[in-house]
Symmetry: D3
């Protein structure tokens, strides 16, 4: 039995519920999912400062549940706190952007990124650079930067996404396509039958890859106990252990 | 039940047996492994021409067992035929270099590559470039280029590897280390207890990641039937299907 | 007298004839051209799997005529089998993409790539990366990805190409322009009088550069004889020689 | 009169005092320096998790003194919170790594990085990548990774540094050299008379460049007020303003 | 008192006067500006050959005023003679492209470049590569390549620029914008109140950064006296000194 | 008959004579070589300022012989004036570094650079970046940076070079090796019989490639006549022609 903690980095419980459901739908047999909401921070993570401020509550949450999961997923595009979490925890921790990039890279030579709004583009470019995979990008196909996400993803919205996916494949040469943006979670299996290349969903990819890595390479870095002030008991406790 | 075909790209059955055993040891529950040997080619794959000539028998083998596996692993460092196989087959196909690079990238910020012989270095550099992950490399720590692999990996050889791993971590800042070279297959779990960062074995990583991707994103590219001459029935059949 | 073997990597004799004629037109004095068709494979090379499967017949052909040429040209865009051929043969072997990129780089600071169809773009991007010259590219100017090549290159088609060339120069800053795609072979000297920057044809560039390198640096790598199974006598013979 | 806030990202007042003194020594006429200590966090910032956890107290400190400075310097190698601070504040904010890299790049074609301990190397590599200036690096010349910093920088330690600087210039071709690591602050003007290329100190460079940019380009991004929970009043106030 | 020499690399005195006025407007307190015109060369620098031929008169001018300035600015986009001047002189020398790139990089994560004419684009791409900062570019937003600069920058021209700036911010994600092209000098402070991100003017940035570096790191490389023929006394004198 | 002008960029006639002899030895049948010495400048080109100051006399020389050659070679490592010459002249102009890099890239997957002195290394790195071929470099193998070139290349010096070449091949994986530095001109054919990979000489490569390109793609850029002051009649004449 492999236990995966899926952590929503913002404070909105409804988003946690949706992410956890998508994670459970993608989980392989023998894998259990625990959804968790960031204990404090912002209801929605949008700016660069938001990513930074989402970091400590993510680490607090991961620290507070330590020992109850075999791998963790930080379910925020842009992968806040990811490097710190990898360093601090003794189980694999994956971000959903990271997982989408790596899964797409293994499914095709170059991947496209599709979303309703180009507002995500600079964040994705930074994140591709951070993971070193910008060279695998076929290109972005996105709606206008000021587009708001539709409340409901009906037939019209699906048709719009399929058109963007088609452009990514036909014009950019994408051999896999990442559906980017929280509201698209869970849509990949719905659209997949109408698309000739793999569609990649960040949460699903992260759950699958986290389960794969959970068994692969556990390790514990030795460290000196150090005093951390101004943060909660869980994370200060992680620093205090030897 | 997920079926993974693990394909040895050279013609040496003993190597197939060893790889299949390593694959089975790493397979998650519910995953079965079928080992397979390239039907023709070279007993050992060493040069660039070897990689090319190993390609068609790999594709033939994959084509001949089509329908009997849910994902495939090409178990040759350097990943011969990988892009062609990804394009031609309708299930995920992973190479063991590719899998090692991606797994190591997800387990640490920068990874080292350790082997007994620096003769592998140019191949690994090409392969890192091919997968776009050269930027994640912390560095190589390898024995001399003319070193031959020891027949037996005894205590002395293990100590030599541990010293190289230690240099990779301490001097290059590696946060995960790939054990490179066929004879090291299966060694990662043996050495892991003595190492503070994750050790990555290509075959194990490939089996785990292939199982993870098997369920994620199946897709079938449409294509026109085309005549292929001079190759066996299985691969010509793949070309002939619409 | 310098003898250059120009090898058509697909099995269509008419294409060989056209390529050989273009090669002869571009050959400097004292250089003879031998055209040759791949002994098996595909009538047209289009996909990534095609490139791989075209490799062994190309190596077979090169091996079978060994000793009868001083340099060879692999006349397929995408340069299949190129690295293996360079390694295996003891005379220079050039690809037509490689030759076009290097010639264009020496003729101007940045070069454009022009063709009737954007379907070639991903292949050219991969190929630019393989040769390390992506940074010299000013940009692509290509027709739609689903365009088919015209049967005849009449005044209308030439005007279309000239418009794309003009965009490459004026909008992308190209200082040399590569005409990409087999059907454009031989067109560069026709259009050159109407264009202010050098037009580069892959076959012509390859013949010229192969002749230049033929005399420069002959070398023979020592090697151990090794058994190769499943391929023809010529290439197995190359492996068997010491 | 230009007011620069120099923020020590750790909680050790003695380090703040030393940094503020170095900043004052480097400040141009008409520039005043205010030193400030992070209100919570770690006494010393060493690991990747430390950098993340140092971020919020840095933003809190910057927010709490808003209006009392014309530019700010985050005086921690590795530049924690830098992008968030640039985004959130309406005055220029510079990191000392960033400043050292840019100053060195403007003083010479390629710069070396010299320190007592190679433990800083991975952090500097990440930081060079983050600022896009890895290509300007001539190389690192550092003591062993487990070296501890000497308590006193006497003649022997200075001679050791001068030897590393000399190697950087003679063997790596450095045309400017960055002295890296907190304890070296203030040493550049002492060693400069014995070195033929510019020596760059991060704090001094940051103060000078911050003063230069302070007058150049003030701007205020418009934003929507948003609720931030779990952090102090100053930073939540920054989020709440429109 | 810091003295900055601002050198116009072409022979047109009217341009010198305009640049010197812009430099004085941007100079911090305690900094004096001396404008200077290249003693020979071209009335306007446009082509790559122009940049080369502008180099020696720039070095001559810098050499002839040696000792009368503490830092120098080469006020030509494309930064002719910059590396040679840095090497030859014993005070900091900055180019206006260099200064704009570095200032913009310190003011925002990615910067846009805006101008009336795309004719500048290849030069800027080369220059970004030379300074290693291409990765920080958000994108170009420029008028057509054959646009001529308006004689007067009236309300219509300003509106056109503001529209390009807005596209750079909204579509490319620019967090700072460089106004490129000589005729735009002095416009940044005029447009800044209507723009939410910093606008960067090359001359102003160069003057500010040169003043900042003037005090930081003076150094004199030792050299052997060498004979230089065919150039004026000032530069030959620089070569002749030991 | 193809006429190639080989231009020595420094003012030392003896070097011109040696270069011209090496060029003649490498010239293919039907190619004539004219050696030429820079009309002014420096007796030896060593520093970055030297490269710049060598530019105008090179352009003057090329302009003064215009019409008497079909291609030109700038025979100075570092390729001074190359981009300007390519732009200004209506025949191909090649640099010897450029030619060596391109020839070596076509002769092997990665090339090494070997010389007696590491003092050349920063120049070669810059030059590799300028031509975009740094990624093809296997590595440098050079003597100490303060080594002076031996007056005579006797058996001991040849043995030293062969050792460096051997390291480049065995340790760096070089598949072609460039002999760098003027005094090594003409040595490649002497050492080639003892080396298993191609040895590349810059002058020989440049002559061969210039001859190859001479016939390929002549073009004349249209331009407006423009006044150039302070330079000789030949180059001013080039500017004045329409």
């Amino acid at each position: 039995m492999t236990r995966i903690l899926v952590l929503n980095g913002n404070t909105t419980q409804a988003i946690t519920d949706r992410i956890a459901a998508a994670a459970r739908a993608a989980a392989p047999p023998g894998v259990t999912i625990e959804g968790m909401t960031a204990p404090y921070g912002l209801p929605l993570i949008v700016t660069r400062a938001d990513w930074l401020l989402a970091g400590p509550p993510i680490l607090e949450a991961l620290a507070s549940r330590r020992g109850h999961y075999d791998a963790a997923v930080i379910a925020v595009f842009g992968d806040p706190a990811l490097d710190a979490a990898k360093e601090l925890l003794d189980v694999p921790v994956l971000g959903i952007s990271e997982a989408a990039f790596h899964a797409a890279s293994m499914l095709g030579r170059r991947f496209g990124i599709v979303s309703f709004t180009a507002a995500l583009r600079p964040m994705f470019e930074d994140c591709l650079d951070q993971h070193g995979l910008r060279g695998r990008l076929a290109g972005f196909r996105m709606g206008p930067p000021d587009a708001s996400y539709p409340a409901e993803l009906g037939a019209a919205e699906q048709a719009q996404l399929l058109a963007l996916i088609e452009q990514s494949v036909a014009l950019d040469g994408a051999e896999a396509v990442i559906l980017a943006g929280g509201p698209l979670a869970g849509l990949a299996p719905v659209l997949q039958p109408r698309v000739a290349v793999p569609l990649v969903d960040g949460t699903a990819a992260a759950v699958r890859l986290a389960a794969a890595l959970a068994g692969l390479a556990p390790a514990l870095r030795s460290r000196r106990p150090r005093p951390l002030s101004g943060y909660g008991a869980a994370i200060s406790g992680l620093y205090a252990r030897s």
